[in-house]
Each structure stands twice: as structure tokens, then as C-alpha cells.
């Protein structure tokens, strides 16, 4: 065996090392230094995240099962940044009395799921992909049940595990159909054998695969678990679920659709995605309007955001790919800013309802300011990053050129107005309702402040500094092979 193939997976190996070190610390360090574990993880992970910016060797490993290219490299780095922010925001919470005893597990499971997502991103063989998918899904159920003294948390875990397993089963059914058509599970082999193939089996296979990944991305109509799980899980886990897990799923979704089923784009899955996007964006938005619990609210908002991310996939061009990665990056910063504020307030007061945020600006101006920026960015208001990412993802979709896509973009644009309405509801509660303030002044922990500051800086700088998108665009242009089959 050629061991130099492992050079192509520096990020996975680095992550594994971080995991092992955290595990060793958790298991063998004395009790009195255990409360330093979250900080230890954060620092270790920060070092690792910086290290993983060094590009490894690009190419295919293990007989074509695993691929490292500039796009997978940058996608993993984007996820690393997000996870670093999640860890920073969780430090204080994981040292609270009722979860402190299990805090090691929290970080270990978090890192393991990330490893699974990395495998999903890089897999070019369905077996490896399924291993990644399961590694990324099952531990999240344990994480969702982390505050197990709460009924909602247990319920969230149960809901998550059932839907995750169910969706995996559907996904594997799809794969078995594909295997029946092509006799192989390598992406490249399948892609060549389905060129010109027209049968109901292929359509069923694509539909099942889309449904399977759709569960992870919480596309409508596979979204029913989302709100309950987001509400019940601890906020750190929810934020992780909403950005990291979604980002990884979206990227691997694009890889599967273009690299495996690329030749069936026009006949089979373009219209499927078209319908899914309209449903996802619209229903996600409409349900979000009614929510009073902020975590449920962001759950529906994240459903509709997933619809926007899908616009980058239906574009099937490098602009779409670059815009999608950029969208995920911006979305990570905006959503984590929102969840960061929610997490701080929930930790200090236990309040998560929108009504509790009335007059927040009076008592906690900086938290309110951060939340406002997050809402503006999610709503796509300039000069914040969300505006740029929305604009670019629309441009990417329109570059595909058909009138149908313009109509789709118009529907998406009209939906941004609906979404703006409910994002402004939060701003309204914090700034306009100055009469009653139920949240007292909160002294947030310095790790939370660092996390939120990074988010705020990201929201402001990512759009105005054009270098980020330009770099992503160069990277997307260097992997045009992804779209060779379209």
C-alpha cells in the first residue's frame, strides 16, 4: 500500500489528532483540571484550523474513493471556521453544573461528526459517502439529548435519530438502484454508465438520493424534524446543526448531483430541484412568521436559507459553486452570531422567546446590536455580507440563462421580502419595544465575546472585502471538471 496517499487528507488526520488529544485529556487528566477542557479544545482546534489552511496534496486516493481538490479543501476550511466559533460559544455553557460532567463527550462527538462531514465532502465512492453520512448523523442524536434532564432535549434526540436513520435507509435504497443500473459504486463509473440511460429506475434512484440528502439539508418536504430538534437541542448543538451540518450536506449534494447524475441534469433532476427550492424557500418563510420561540424561528429561517443555498446547485456552473461556498461561509457567520446571542441569553436567563427580547437594546446594547447585524445579514441588507452572498447566488443561478431560472430567482427574491419581515420582527422587539425589558444586564464570558466579535467582524468585512469571494471564485474555476457532465 502506498502510504503517501494519506498526504491527501491532512485535514482529516489533523482532526483525528485533535479528537485523540481531547479524548486523552478527558480520560486521563485529574478532576481539578477538567474544567479547562473546553478551553483546551478551543485552543487546540484553533491551532488545527490555522494549520489546515496549508493546502495538502491534491488528487485521488485509495483507488479513487477519496478526492482532495481545491474546492473540498476550502469547504473543509470554511466548516473548520464555523466549528471553531461553535466551540468558542459553547465553552461557558459546557462548564455549567448540569452538563459539566459530560462536557468531554460534547467536544469529542462534535469533532467526530465533523470528521464524518469531511468524508462526505471528499468521498467519490458511495460506501465511503455512507460511512461519512452515518458518522455525521448518529452522534448528533447523542448531542441533541445532551441536556437530558429536559424533556424537549430527549424528544429532539429521538426525533433526530428516527429521521436520520429513515433518511439513510432511503438514501441507501437509492444507491442500490444506482448499483443495479451501473454495477459500481464509484462516482466516475456510475456517471459514465448512466449517460443516455433513460429508465424509471434512474429517476427513482435520483429521487431517493435527493430525499436522503434532503433530510440532512432539511428541504421541504423532508423538513419536519427540524423545528422540534432545533428547539429541543442545546443551543450549541442547534447552531452546529444549522450551519455546519447543512453546509457539508449542501456541498456533497452538489458533488453527487453533478459528478454522478450530471448527465441526467436536464431530464431528471433540474425540475425536481426547481420544485424543491420553491417549496423550501416559501414554506420555510411562511412558517417562520408565526414562531415566537427564537430557536424554532431560526429553524424555519434556516430551512428557507437552505433553499437559497440550493440555488447555487441548480445553477450548475462555477459561479454557482463559488457563490454557494461563499453563501455558506456568510451564513455560518450570520447564523452563529444569532445563535451566539441566543445562547448567551439562554444560559444566563433561560429565556428564548421573542417576547423576552423586548427592549433588549436598553439593557444589553451590544448583544442587541450583534443580533441586529445577524438579522440584517440573514435578510440580505447591505452593506452586510448577507446582501453580497444573496446577490451572487442569484447571479450564479441567472447565469444558467433560461427564463425558468429567472422566474425561480424572482420567486426567491419575493421570498427575501417575506423573510425580511420576520427578521425585522426580532429587530422590532429589541429596538422598538422599549417599554418592557425582561432580560437584565448579562455579563457574557470572554470566550462568548470573542466568538460574537469574530461573527460581527465577519458579517461586516466578508462583503466589503472582495478578496474572499474572488479567491473562492478562482478556486471554483480551477475545478471546472465537476461540471463536465452537464
Amino acid at each position: 500500500m502506498d502510504y503517501s496517499q494519506f498526504l491527501m487528507m491532512p485535514q482529516e488526520i489533523g482532526l483525528l489528532l485533535v479528537f485523540l488529544l481531547v479524548f486523552v485529556y478527558d480520560t486521563f487528566m485529574p478532576q481539578r483540571s477538567q474544567d479547562k477542557l473546553p478551553l483546551f479544545t478551543a485552543i487546540l482546534f484553533a491551532l488545527y484550523a490555522i494549520y489546515s489552511f496549508v493546502p495538502g496534496q491534491m488528487g485521488q486516493a485509495f483507488g479513487g474513493m477519496f478526492e482532495a481538490n481545491p474546492a473540498t479543501w476550502v469547504m473543509k476550511n470554511i466548516l473548520n471556521l464555523g466549528v471553531l466559533l461553535v466551540i468558542l460559544q459553547a465553552v461557558k455553557w459546557s462548564n455549567e453544573d448540569h452538563v459539566a460532567i459530560r462536557r468531554g463527550e460534547f467536544y469529542e462527538l462534535l469533532l467526530l461528526t465533523l470528521l464524518g462531514m469531511f468524508l462526505m465532502i471528499s468521498a467519490r465512492h458511495f460506501l465511503l459517502f455512507v460511512i461519512g453520512l452515518e458518522t455525521a448523523s448518529l452522534p448528533i442524536a447523542a448531542l441533541a439529548a445532551f441536556e437530558k434532564r429536559y424533556y424537549e432535549s430527549r424528544e429532539a434526540a429521538a426525533k433526530y435519530i428516527f429521521t436520520a436513520v429513515f433518511s439513510s435507509a432511503i438514501f441507501m435504497l437509492g444507491i442500490s438502484f444506482v448499483y443495479g443500473i451501473s454495477g459500481s459504486l464509484y462516482f466516475t463509473d456510475i456517471a459514465t454508465s448512466i449517460i443516455g440511460h433513460k429508465s424509471a429506475l434512474l429517476i427513482a434512484a435520483v429521487a431517493f438520493v435527493i430525499a436522503g440528502v434532503g433530510f440532512k439539508l432539511s428541504l421541504v418536504p423532508f423538513h419536519l424534524w427540524t423545528a422540534d430538534v432545533y428547539q429541543g437541542a442545546p443551543t450549541a448543538v442547534t447552531s452546529y446543526l444549522s450551519v455546519i451540518s447543512k453546509g457539508a450536506a449542501a456541498f456533497s449534494f452538489l458533488v453527487i448531483l453533478t459528478q454522478v447524475f450530471g448527465s441526467a441534469y436536464a431530464q431528471v433532476w433540474e425540475w425536481m430541484l426547481y420544485a424543491l427550492i420553491i417549496l423550501t424557500i416559501t414554506l420555510g418563510n411562511l412558517f417562520a412568521i408565526r414562531q415566537r420561540n427564537l430557536k424554532r424561528f431560526l429553524a424555519f429561517s434556516s430551512i428557507s436559507q437552505a433553499g437559497y443555498i440550493m440555488l447555487g446547485i441548480i445553477a450548475v456552473n462555477t459561479t454557482g459553486l463559488a457563490s454557494m461556498m461563499y453563501y455558506i461561509l456568510v451564513y455560518i457567520f450570520s447564523n452563529l452570531a444569532a445563535f451566539g446571542v441566543i445562547g448567551v441569553i439562554e444560559r444566563a436567563t433561560g429565556k428564548v422567546s421573542m417576547d423576552d427580547y423586548n427592549g433588549l437594546f436598553r439593557t444589553n446594547p451590544w448583544l442587541a446590536f450583534t443580533m441586529m447585524l445577524a438579522m440584517f445579514s440573514l435578510g440580505g441588507i447591505p452593506p452586510f455580507a448577507g446582501f453580497f452572498s444573496k446577490f451572487f447566488i442569484f447571479v450564479g443561478a441567472c447565469q444558467q440563462g433560461s427564463v425558468a431560472i429567472y422566474v425561480l430567482v424572482l420567486i426567491a427574491l419575493v421570498n427575501t421580502i417575506i423573510s425580511l419581515y420576520y427578521y425585522l420582527l426580532v429587530v422590532k422587539a429589541m429596538f422598538l419595544r422599549q417599554d418592557d425589558c425582561s432580560v437584565p444586564y448579562i455579563d457574557s464570558h470572554w470566550t462568548e465575546e470573542i466568538g460574537l466579535t469574530v461573527c460581527v467582524m465577519g458579517i461586516i468585512a466578508l462583503g466589503l472585502a472582495s478578496g474572499v469571494y474572488t479567491r473562492l471564485s478562482d478556486i471554483a474555476d480551477s475545478v471546472t471538471g465537476i461540471f463536465a457532465l452537464i
Partner: protein
Amino acid sequence: MMEIFNNPLIYFVIIPLLTLLGLAFCNNRGMRAIRAVAVTGAVALVALAIYLVCLFLQARAAGDTSEMILQSKVMWYAPFNIELALGVDGVSVVMILLSAFIVFAGVFASWKMNPLPKQFFLWFFLLSTGVFGFFISIDLFTMFMFYEVALIPMYLLIGVWGSGNKNYSAMKLTLMLMGSSAFLMLGLIGIYFHSSADGNLTMNILEIAHNDAIPHQWQLYLFPLTFVGFGVLGAMFPFHTWSPDGHASAPTAVSMLHAGVLMKLGGYGCFRIAIYLMPFAASELAWIFLTLTGISIVYGAFSACVQTDLKYINAYSSVSHCGMVLFAILMFNTTAMTGAVLQMLSHGLMTALFFALIGMIYGRTHTRDIRDMGGMMHIMPYLGVGYVIAGLASLGLPGLSGFAAEMTIFFGSFENADVFRRVLTIMGASSIVITAVYILRVVAKLLFGEVQDEHHRTLTDASWDERLSTATLIVSVAIIGCFPNFFVNIISDSFLPVVNALKDYFPVAGM
């Protein structure tokens, strides 16, 4: 990269941003510091705007006939050819001048702002940043970005510092304007993808106009998107409903800036983007929008007649006057377009003056209902005289700005030889009479009627900051009315490129 800082235009964005930065270091209790920073910023903007007018006149006097002066560009987003492209022609120059004066007057009109003065001025200057950025940009993306930057502060400005049914109005205004910008965004993306026949897509307005490559079929899709997108901000019927509610609830300075400047963004955008870049569709579809704007003019004026709230009266009068701007632009000849820009100037100053005075009266009487007020001329003569002047400007008294603008518009419109446009012109011109009705009704009741509330007799006249704010506007209104030629000379040659682009599709009278 650094050359752009040699361009005076960029400072129209940098000065408000520096003011923002300065305000960020102020404390809400340090009212003097806040005022000092805000006034410094506003004065700097006025000075720069006057300097710009001089630069422009100098360039034209020196024989520089290029379409835009002071052009410079920096690549921003290379993958989409998005540039920070700056440049101004006569229309943008006078718009910048107008905005600077209204920002100046607005700062003094909110001299005693309470509560949270620091945050108020922060949002106020963010709004100005957007306005100035919009007028100096000639790149589709940056223009659109600045346009939206100017919109969103309105939500908080109205929601936090407004009065009356402010939550509703703020949300309605924001959603309608952002909704229109959704259409606009799609229109701009469509223009971008058809901007060039040889594949070198560009966002630069001048280059797109020069390429003239947008297929006629696509123009028919994209023109309505862009025109309606900007038209909503220009309060075009039937998308004007945000305007009365928004104005009625907004604090004084915000009403001033909004009616005075922000609504001009709509007219300017229709002119600069929709008509200039898509002349074929503009001449094909003009009849639809002419009808709508014609309705705006008359409908706005009639609605103003039956309102009793001072702010609603002026908001509907704004619908009518802004309708005239879009109406005149759609007449496609130099005279009418000149009138449109004069009307933008005139309406901007006059409405700002109205809203300033209304704010000052409301601050004293705590009512805006004309049925509850009367005899103000004796109680507060300065404000009363100001109101009469604003009213006379509004109904088009010669010597004040409204006359010059409206005469030019209706002369220009009548130049078109076809019956449809002439009938619409006559219909539109009838609004002048209706304007006289509602203006004189208010003046008679509010200023010369009987005092309704004995308590009102104890009220004081304007303080020095209020006098400064209104005097600036009154003098400007008179200057435009007495020397319209000065402005006409600045703006007139800006229309040639547009009228030339339209010439192939539309028989332009008087050319």
C-alpha cells in the same frame, strides 16, 4: 487603488462615514458633542457639494464635453466586473447639492432630538451615505447597494423616533421599498447578463449604454422590473401607499430627508438606468407608465384635498409632485426632462421645508390635525410666513421654485405631437388648480382661522436652530425660482445621451 482618493466624489461617502465614526465615540448624554460632530459633517458635505458645482462648471467652461466628469474606477469584484466606478453629470451634481442642503437642514431640524440622539444621528448619516453613494456611482451593483443602504435605516428611524402608528408604518414602508428593490435586483442581474454582445459582461452604466446590446425581447421583460423597482420609491400609483403612512409617522428630519432626497432616488434611477439603458422598451411601454404617473399626479392632489392631518396632506402632495417627475421623464424630450430635474430640486426643498415647519408646529401644539388649530399666523409669525412661502412654491407662484419646474414640465410634455400625451398633459396640468385648493385651504384654516385652543396662544415662535433650518430652505427655494437658468445650464446637456438613445425608437419633437 489609491488614485480613487484623489477623486473628490469619494469624499461624499467618506465624510458621512467619518461622521458616523465620530458619533460612535460620543455619549448619549453629551448632546453638545453629538451636535458638534453632526454639524461638522453636514457643513463639510455642503461645502464639498458647492465645490463640486464649481468643478463641474469649470470643466464645462473649459470645453470638457464628456458625458460624465470626474470619472474613476477601482475593480471591486473581478469575477462579475463589479467596479467602484464614480462619475457625475449635471443631474447628479444638482442632486448631490440638493441632498447636502437637506442633510444640513435636517441636522438643525433635529437639534433637540430625544431620546437616544446619538443613535438617531448614526442612522441619519448612514442614510445620507447611501444617498450620496447612489448619486456618485455609475456601476449597477454599487448603485443598487447604496440604494438599499439608504432604505434600511428608515425602519429604525421611523420605528424608534417616529410618532403615531409608527410600528405599522415603518414595517409597511420597509417591506414595500425592499419589495420593489427585489424586482430591481432581478432587473439589474438581467441587464448585466445582456450587457455586451461579445461576452465581456459589465456593470458599468456608461459601457452598457455604449454597447447597446440588450436584446429587444429582454428589454421588454427588464424595463418594467427596473422602472417599477425605482418607481415605487418615486411613489408611483398604485405603489405609493407606503408614502403617506411613512411620512406621517416619521420624525421631522427623516420626513425631510425622505421626501426631499430619497424619493428622488426613484426618479433618478428611472432616468439613469431604466430609460437610458433600455430605450426600446422605454418607448414601447411608456404609455403604461405615463398613464400610471398621470393618475399619480391627479389622484395625489385630490387625496390631499380631503386629508386633515398636515403630514398626510403633504405626503399626498408629494405623491402628486413626484408623479410629475416620472411623468416628465417619460416624455422623452430635453425640455420635459429638464423640468423633471427642476421639479426634483423644487419638490425636494419645498417638501423638506413643509415637513420641517410641520414638525416645529407639531412640537408646540402636539397635534397635526388642522381642525384643532387656527390663527397660527398671530401666534408664531415666523413659522406662519414660512408655511405660506412653502405653500406658494407648491402651487407654482412665479418667482419660487415650483413655477419654473412645472412650467418647463408642461411645456415640454406638450411638445409631443400625439394626442395621447397631450391629453395626459392637460390632465396633469389640471393638478395645479387642485394644488391651489388644498394649499389655500390649509393656509386659510391653519394660519388665519380662529384660534381653536386657548392654550395655543401661549406658544412661542421658532428658536434660532429652527430659523436656520427653515431659512436655508426658503432661500434655496427662492434662488431656484429666480435663477432657474443657472440650474438649467448645469443639467441640460446631461439629457443628450438619453434623448439620442431614444431617437431611434421614438419620434422626439423639437430635436
